[in-house]
Every structure is written in C-alpha cells, then in structure tokens.
C-alpha cells in the first residue's frame, strides 16, 4: 500500500468558498430559521415560540388555498409548456439561415425582464385598449382579467407560456440537433413510422434535457412572483395569489415575521423535496 501524504493546509484553500456560501446562503437562511421559532414586538426583543408558527401555517386555510392555487398553476403550465416546447423544437428547421432566425426569435422572450413581461401583458390584455383584450371581446367572450377570475388565470397562464416555452424549445432543440443522421437513416430502413422515430429515437435522446427543463420550469413557476404581481396583483380577490405573493403580503404587508418565516421554510422544503424526488426517479430509471 502506498502511503498517502496528509496535508491539512489544504483546508485553507476551501475557506473562501465556505465564507462566500456562509454569507450568501447559510447566514440569511439561519436568520429565517431563527425568526420562525420566535415572536417579536419590535425593539429587537424576541420570545421563544417553539413550532407554533409552523402549526399555524400548516393549519391555515389561507396557506392551503395559495398552495393549491400554486400546484394547479404549476401543473397547468408544465402540461402546456413541455409538450408545446418539444413540438416547436421538432418543427424548427434543421439547417440553413432560418435556424438562426428561429433561434433568435425563440430567445427573445427570455431576454425581457420579468416585470416588463408583466407590464406588457397587462397592457396587451386590457379589455378596452389591449390588442388581445379587444380581440377576445370582439369574438364575443366577456373578457376582463381585472374582474373575472377565469380571465385572470387565462391571462397569467398565457403570459407564462409566452415567456418560458422558449426555454424548453431551446433545450429540446439542442438535444435534437445532437442526434446523428445515421439514427434517422437506420429508422427509415427499419421502416419506422414518424411516431416510432419520436418515441424510440428523439424522446430518449431528449430525456436528460427534458428532465432539466421540467425541473427548471417547476422551480421557477412554483416561485413565480413578479409577473402575476404586476399583471393582476394577486387578484381579483385572492384568485391569483400564489405562494410568493401571499408570502410577501404576510411578511411585508402585515409584518408577521414569525409566520412568514415558517411559511418560507415550508415553501423551501416543498420545492427542494419535489425536485429531489423527481430527479432521483428520472435518473434511477436511466440506470436500469
């Protein structure tokens, strides 16, 4: 056996990273943990409350409602954006000048700041002034996203689909263009139908990036705040109040630091757990 040399000085090299992570993640997170177990009435005076805030949040129907809204919203946009993104990627040209034109067009929505997206869609969907609003009303529907909950949901989902489908398209397109021609040629010779080509060649080759795309879209949409805040402000009523919007209302609107901190941590754990379970399932499946 060769003797391993040990040199504890290497630990010094890790210190900058430890400090950086401590300052930008661990310390802020621990502050939140700290708040979630205590009550304060200002003046930096804190009282220990145990898990009271957690119980309160988990039992509150307000939290249940926004969580349910959040889950519905995320499910809907995933169900729309992933298949739509794959479909667009499949339809995009494989070579020629149109490739770059399409790629630039696709990338555009991703470059727009989130609050601008909210403002754009707000104006675009105004029932009297906006192009979209007037078209829908012109078709005979009674559409006003500031008053009708259904219209508000429809507009918010449309906005998210417009903003983020491109991400799925770009990822799927990258995966598709890495498939060698020989696969398609072999499939032609084997007499495969277009569906079989998709099912047995394209989909398996896209699996990894689609896993990433679903994860990214899940996390981002689960934490969505800016766009619906600018578009609907969580209304009408509470119908588009998603978790983040609700959280901000509790933390900054009502200044209930304890419940807000407990809610943040529950929220964080939900995102973390779901992502981990999903990723592990997908990757385990791969090894079999």
């Amino acid at each position: 056996m060769a003797r391993k040399t040990t040199n504890q000085k290497a630990w010094f090299l890790v210190i900058p990273v430890v400090l950086l992570v401590a300052f930008n993640a661990i310390i802020p997170l621990m502050t939140v943990v700290n708040y979630s177990f205590q009550e304060t009435f200002g003046d930096n005076v804190f009282f220990w409350e145990g898990v009271k805030w957690y119980e309160q949040v988990l039992r509150s129907s307000r939290f249940h409602d926004s969580l349910l809204r959040q889950i519905i919203f995320t499910s809907i946009i995933l169900v729309i954006e992933i298949p739509l993104g794959v479909a667009i990627a499949l339809a995009m040209p494989k070579k020629g000048i149109w490739v770059s034109v399409c790629l630039v067009l696709m990338a555009l929505p991703l470059l727009i700041p989130w609050n601008v997206v909210g403002a754009m869609w707000n104006i675009y969907a105004l029932p009297e002034l906006g192009l979209l609003g007037r078209i829908i009303n012109g078709m005979g529907f009674d559409y006003n996203f500031t008053q009708g909950p259904l219209a508000a949901w429809f507009t918010t989902i449309m906005m998210d689909v417009w903003h983020w489908t491109s991400l799925v398209v770009l990822l799927a397109y990258a995966a598709l263009s890495s498939i060698p021609d020989a696969y398609y040629q072999a499939a032609k010779i084997d007499g495969a139908t277009p569906w079989a080509v998709f099912r047995y060649i394209q989909l398996p080759k896209m699996k990894r990036v689609l896993t990433i795309a679903i994860l990214l879209r899940f996390m981002d949409s689960f934490m969505i705040y800016t766009e619906p805040f600018v578009l609907t402000g969580g209304g009408p009523g509470n119908t588009t109040t998603f978790l983040s919007i609700d959280l901000v209302k509790i933390a900054l609107g009502q200044f209930d630091l304890g419940p807000a901190a407990a809610m943040s941590l529950i929220y964080f754990l939900i995102v973390l757990l779901t992502s981990w379970i999903f990723y592990t399932l997908m990757m385990n499946n791969e090894e079999k």
Partner: protein
Amino acid sequence: MARISLRNIRHSYVEEPSGEEDWALKSMSVDWADGTACALLGPSGCGKTTLLNIISGLLMPTEGEVLFDDRDVTSIPPDARNIAQVFQFPVVYDTMSVYDNLAFPLRNRGVDKKTIDRRVREIANMLDLEAMLFTRAAGLTADGKQKISLGRGLVRADVNAILFDEPLTVIDPHLKWMLRSKLKELHQQFGATMIYVTHDQTEALTFAEQVIVMHEGAVVQIGTPIELFERPHHTFVGHFIGSPGMNLLPCELDGEHAEFAGHSIRTEHPVRLKTTPDTLQIGVRPEFVKFAESGIEVDVTKVTDIGRHAIVETRSGDNIIRLLLPEGQSAPAGRAHLQFDPKHTQVYADGWIVE
C-alpha cells in the same frame, strides 16, 4: 434477393452543378449479380458512401436509374426497397432491449408474433447475442451494439441486399477480425447480395469476391482481388492496393519497348500507343522486382524488416524502387542490379494501363 444495377448514375450535392468538380459521383453504370459479396474501396471522400446511399434509397441520384431485378426503384424510399444497411457508427434504440431492437424492423412491417420470435432467436443465436437478449441495448459495448445493427439488417429474411458502410470502424482490432469472418460466414449461409464500403484494403480484399475501386467520384476498376493486384488498370489502384504500393517509374518509348534509365524494359505486352500521352510510366509491384547480376543499376538505401519479408528501398537517380525480399535472403549493400518480372510489368499512359 435481387440483382442490382445502376444505369448512368450521377450525383451532385450542389443545387446546379456546373463544373466537373461539382459532381460527387461521376457518371457510372455498375451491375451486381444476385448474391455477390462486393466491396467499394477508396479513400475518404471518394464518393463510396454516396453511392451506397443511392443504392439504399437514402439519397436520390441527380441523374440515372437504380434497378432491382429490372424494376426501376430510383424514386422508391428505403423502407419500400427492402434493403438493410449497417452504418459506420452503431445505431441502437437505447430504450429497447436487445430483443426489441432485433424485432423492430419486423414489427414495423406487421409480421406476426410467432415469426418475429423465431427470427429474432435465430439471428441472436447466429451473432452470439442470446445471453443478453433481454438486457437494455444502451449498456452494450461498441461491438455488441454493432452486432445489433447487423442483426436488425439480417432479421428480415427477404432483403434484396445488405449494405455496409465501414461497419468495423469503431470496433477493437481483435473483434474486427471476428466480426469480419462472421460476415463472410453469413454471406455463405444466406447468399444475400452484400455491398461493403471501406477504405481498408485488407477488409475489402478478404471480404469480397468483387472489388470496385473508386477515386474522386469515379469507378477506376472493377475486378477480383487478384485482378486488382496483378493488373491494376490505373496507377491509383496500383499504389492504393498493396503494401507497399506499386512502383511507378517515368519511362520513354523506343519503338514498342519502354525504356527506363537507359535499359529496355520487357513488359507484358508490346507498347502500342494511339496518341501521345503527357506522362508515360512503368508500373511494377515490389513483389515482382528481384536483385540480379545485371539490369537497372540502383543504390540500396534502406531495408525494413516486417517479419515474413523485408522491404528494400533502392534508388536509381531520382526514382525510388521498392522490392520485397523473402525471409532469409539478405539485401546487397551499396550498388546492385534489379530485374522486373515481364509478366507483371505494365506501362501506364496518363495513368491508365496500355493494353
């Protein structure tokens, strides 16, 4: 199974070909009798894969016709031509098991389950894939995957031809030899028409009974391995096939005899030219050059021992003449004389053999 014929095939990847260099494949007509094992041999970029894809239907030729048993199939897609093709890089359907991979071409054609099962097991047995029939194809080694590609080609009993596009490129050397003999075995067993593209002369010469040598998009010579070796029709075939390649020496004409370095060289046929060529060369393979008491004066410059024989490099003026020396003989040092075997000495005018 079928006879395959190409009639005046020409192909260009350019929209509107104008010059000669725009044609990836220059006009050619070739026939393959039913059941031949044929190799398309040539350096990279000579158009052999293009030709193969035209036969399989992956590519539509710019001009000309492809016939299977006198039936024009030029505009028929690959799946309807009923051919099999094995590619340079193994293609397997990753998510399927080895069994499903082999069954895929049959399932797509609506073959019944019992027949599929019988065929798949037969082919797996032939390719030694039985033990891994139900493992996922993605986990296999390169040669295992290439066997699957090959198996998918063989699984249909009625294919018109099996086409190979440099199928052994990614295979380890010792497995290459195994797979190659497997192919030969399969050919003898099935008698299917097989067309094998390669740039490796050993592969081509051991696999095929008929070899087509291609160069810059044109067919240079079609023949048996022995014909290619003994009577190359073009200097390209002479130096591309054989190791080392043919010696090519500039010569002059004295009546009907070639003359090199002041010596009259006896050749297979007397040289009768119809026109005056730009270049005139004597071609003789190293196997047919011998040291002698008299003949062309040369200086021995290098001897390389390669086992069974030695390659001796000699120099006459500016020209290098190589010869093979059988094991046990030693090359003379310094000045020596060479003789060419007249039966295997040809004259080439502008690259083409003079007959």
